[in-house]
Symmetry: C2
Subunit: 408 residues, 2 copies
C-alpha cells in the first residue's frame, strides 16, 4: 500500500483570511497533489492580494466575490472552506448541494439542524464533506492509533483530549472582542473548539463504525481571563475552562477540555487508556504491560507494591510509527508541523477517487455537533444530553474503513 | 510561627490491618509527638502480634477486642481509625460521641446519612473528626497551595485531581475479590477513593471557608480489567475509569478521576489553573505569567503566535516551598514519603489544643460524600446531583483557617 499518484486536484478556496493564507502556503508546496484553480472572498481587496500572490508563484486562478459562482465553475473539482466559523456550514452545504466535495476548516456547530442538512445534501448529491482536521494526522496521534489497532493497549476504556491554548491576546483587545472568535467567546458558553482533540480520539474509538457517542455533559468554569484582557469593559459568557464528558455506545468514556482564555502552555491533553496500556501526551509517555518496566517494591511497613514506569513516546516511533509518518518523517513540509499537508493530501486522494474519505460527513457532523450540545448541557447545569446518530443506524453494521494509504 | 512542642498525645488505634501497621511504623518514629496508649482489633491474634511488636519497641499499650472499651479508657486522648472501609464511619461516630477526637483513614461514604450523624455528634460533643488525608501534606501539593495563597496563579478557575493507581493485583485473584476493597469494586460503581485527589484541591479552593461544592456529575467507563484478573469468573460493577466533574459556589470547576483497575503508572493527576498560572503534576511543570518564559514566534504564513513554556516544578521549591516542608525536607521520615508523619503531627497538634484542625469534620464529611454522590450520578446516567452543605450555611461567613503551623 502506498501513496498513489493521482492527477493534481483542481481546488476552489472560499475564504482568504488567516487560515486561507496558511492553507494556501501549504498548497503551494504540494503542486503534485493539488492546483489552486479558483479563489473567492467577499472582500475584493483580499481577493486581489491573493490573486497577485498566486500569480507571483506562477498560478492563474479564477477569482470570485460570490461563492455560488465559484461552486458553478467547471474548473473546480473540490472546495476548501477556511472561512469564519458561522460560514463553514452554509458554504459546505452549498458545495455538496452543487455536487462538489468539500473540505471544511475545523469548528463547532451552533445547532444540529444545519448538520442534518449537511448530511442529507451530502448523501443525496453523492458529494462528501470532510472536516480538514489536521490533528488526525499528527505524528503522535497516528502512532497511538497504530498501536491501538495493533492491540497493544488492549481493549480501550477511557480517553481524554482537549484544546488548551492561550489565544486571548489574538481575540480580545483593550476594548473587547477583536475577531469573530472573540465575539463567539463573548456570547456563547461551552466547548467552542472540540475537533482538534476529539477528531483523533473518535478515530481511535471507531466512532460511526461500530461505536458512537451516546451522551454528553458539559460544565464551564467562571469566565475571567478575557474580561481581564478587555480591562473589565465587557463580561464574556464563555467559561475559561469547559469540561465535557462523553459516553460511548460500547462503554468507553471521553473527557474533553476547552481552555483558550487563561495563559498556559499549549496542550491537546491527549490520553488513551486500555486494559493493557496507556498513552499520556502531558506525561510524554506510553506504558504497555509486558513491554514497559514494572518494579516490585515494598513500603515502610514491608507491604509489597508495584511501580509501573512510563517509556518516552519517542521510544516507540522506531517500531510503531504509522506508515503515513514513516514515509513523511524525513521531509515534513507545510503548516502545523506537516499535519496540514497530510490532511490536504488525504482529501485530494479521496476526491481523485483513489481512497475513501478518512473523515466523512458523518464524522464531520458528529464532531461539530459537540459544540452545540456542550452549550446546551452547560445551560442546563451539566445535564447529560443525547448525541444524535447522524448515520441513522448505519454505525451498527458499518465496519472499519476500507484499508488505504490515508485511512484512519 | 513554628512547630510547637506539646506533650506526646496518647493515641488509641482501632484496626491493626495493613494500614494500621504502616501508621504504627510511622508513629514509632515520632515519640516526641505521640504515644500509642491503646490498640484494638477484633482479631485476637493480630492484636497480640501488635502488642508484642510494640513491647519490643519499649511500648506498653492497653489491648482491646471491643472498640467501645478502648473509647472509654481514660488513657486515650484521641483515636486513629485505620480499619476496613465500612467501619470508618461507625467507629468515628462512636469516638466523637465518646468525646474523643478522631483521625480517620481515607475512604468514601456509602450515603450522606452517616455523614450527617458524624457532623452532629462532633458538634454536640465538641470532638473533631479529621480525615487523615496525608496527600494534603505532600510537598508538591503544599508548594502549590503556598503559591496559590500568595496570588501567583491569579484567581483560580479550574482544578483536576484523581487517583490513578494499578491495584488490581492486590484486590483481585484468580477466583475473584481478595480484599474488602475488591468486594467494593465488585458491587459498587463510582469514584470509590476520591480524597487523595480532592483533599488538597478542596484546601486550595477554600471549600467550607467561603466556597463549597455545589453539584457533582460522574460517568464510569465499562468495567473490564478486574474481570480479566479474575479470569472472567466474575463481573465487576465498578467502571475501570470514573470521571467526576464538580462545580463550586464561586464558579470553579474540578475534574476528578478514579482509575484503579487497568495497569498504569501512578498519578494523582493534579492540575490547578488560574488567571495567571497553572500547575500540572503530569507535565511536572508550573507556568506563571511574568515569571516563566513566553516566546514570540511566527507560523508558516507569517502569522504571529506566542509559545508559553513550562518550568520544572522543582525550580520553585527553593523560593516557594511551604514552611512545613522547608523545615521537614532535609529529614523526611515515615510512610508515603513523609506525608503520614506530617498528617499525624498536624492531628496531634490540634488534639493538644495548639492549633485548629487543618481538616475538620466538615471537610471530612464533604470529601467522603463525593463517593456516595458519584455512585448516585453514575446510576442516573451522569445526571448532576447536589452536594450537601454540611456546615449548614456556616461556609458563607467562615473565613480562612486561623494562621498556624499546620494550617492548610
Amino acid at each position: 500500500m502506498s501513496q498513489s499518484p493521482h492527477k493534481p486536484v483542481k481546488l476552489g478556496i472560499i475564504g482568504l483570511g488567516p487560515r486561507g493564507a496558511t492553507l494556501t502556503a501549504t498548497l503551494l508546496q504540494m503542486p503534485e497533489t493539488a492546483r489552486i484553480a479558483a479563489i473567492c472572498d467577499c472582500d475584493g481587496e483580499r481577493l486581489e492580494k491573493m490573486r497577485r500572490h498566486l500569480a507571483e508563484n506562477g498560478i492563474v486562478a479564477e477569482t470570485y466575490r460570490d461563492s455560488a459562482e465559484l461552486l458553478a465553475s467547471p474548473e473546480v473539482d473540490a472546495v476548501l472552506v477556511p472561512t469564519s466559523w458561522n460560514a463553514h456550514l452554509p458554504l459546505a452545504i452549498a458545495a455538496v448541494r452543487a455536487g462538489k466535495p468539500v473540505a471544511m476548516e475545523v469548528g463547532g456547530a451552533t445547532g444540529c439542524e444545519e448538520l442534518w442538512e449537511l448530511v442529507r445534501q451530502a448523501e443525496n448529491n453523492r458529494a462528501n464533506a470532510m472536516m480538514l482536521e489536521n490533528c488526525c494526522y499528527g505524528r503522535q496521534e497516528l502512532l497511538v492509533l497504530n498501536m491501538v489497532r495493533k492491540g497493544l493497549f488492549g481493549e480501550i476504556l477511557h480517553c481524554e483530549c482537549g484544546y488548551c491554548h492561550h489565544i486571548t491576546p489574538e481575540m480580545v483587545g483593550p476594548d473587547g472582542p477583536l475577531t469573530e472568535r472573540g465575539w463567539h467567546n463573548l456570547r456563547r458558553n461551552g466547548d467552542l473548539y472540540p475537533t482538534h482533540g476529539i477528531g483523533p480520539i473518535a478515530k481511535i474509538l471507531d466512532i460511526n463504525r461500530g461505536n458512537r457517542f451516546v451522551t454528553l455533559s458539559s460544565v464551564s468554569s467562571k469566565a475571567r481571563s478575557m474580561e481581564l484582557a478587555a480591562g473589565g469593559k465587557c463580561r464574556f459568557n464563555c467559561g475559561d475552562v469547559t469540561t465535557t464528558v462523553l459516553k460511548c455506545a460500547n462503554g468507553e468514556t471521553v473527557t474533553m477540555i476547552h481552555s483558550v482564555a487563561p495563559p498556559q502552555p499549549y496542550s491537546r491533553r491527549g490520553l488513551v487508556q486500555g486494559t493493557r496500556g496507556i498513552w499520556s501526551e502531558d506525561r510524554k509517555g506510553i506504558f504497555v504491560e509486558g513491554l514497559s518496566v514494572s518494579k516490585n517494591l515494598t513500603d515502610v511497613a514491608g507491604n509489597p507494591y508495584v511501580e509501573h514506569v512510563w517509556d518516552p513516546v519517542e521510544s516507540f516511533y522506531d517500531k510503531f510509527d504509522h506508515p503515513i509518518w514513516r514515509d513523511f518523517r524525513d521531509h515534513p513540509t507545510g503548516g502545523h508541523g506537516g499535519m496540514d499537508t497530510l490532511a490536504l493530501r488525504a482529501f485530494c486522494s479521496a476526491v481523485a477517487g483513489e481512497s475513501d474519505y478518512p473523515i466523512d460527513v458523518y464524522d464531520t457532523a458528529v464532531w461539530m455537533s459537540l459544540t452545540a450540545l456542550s452549550e446546551q448541557s452547560v445551560a442546563l447545569g451539566g445535564m447529560p444530553v443525547p448525541v444524535p446518530d447522524f448515520t441513522c443506524g448505519k454505525w451498527v453494521t458499518r465496519g472499519p474503513a476500507k484499508p488505504g494509504y490515508w485511512s484512519l
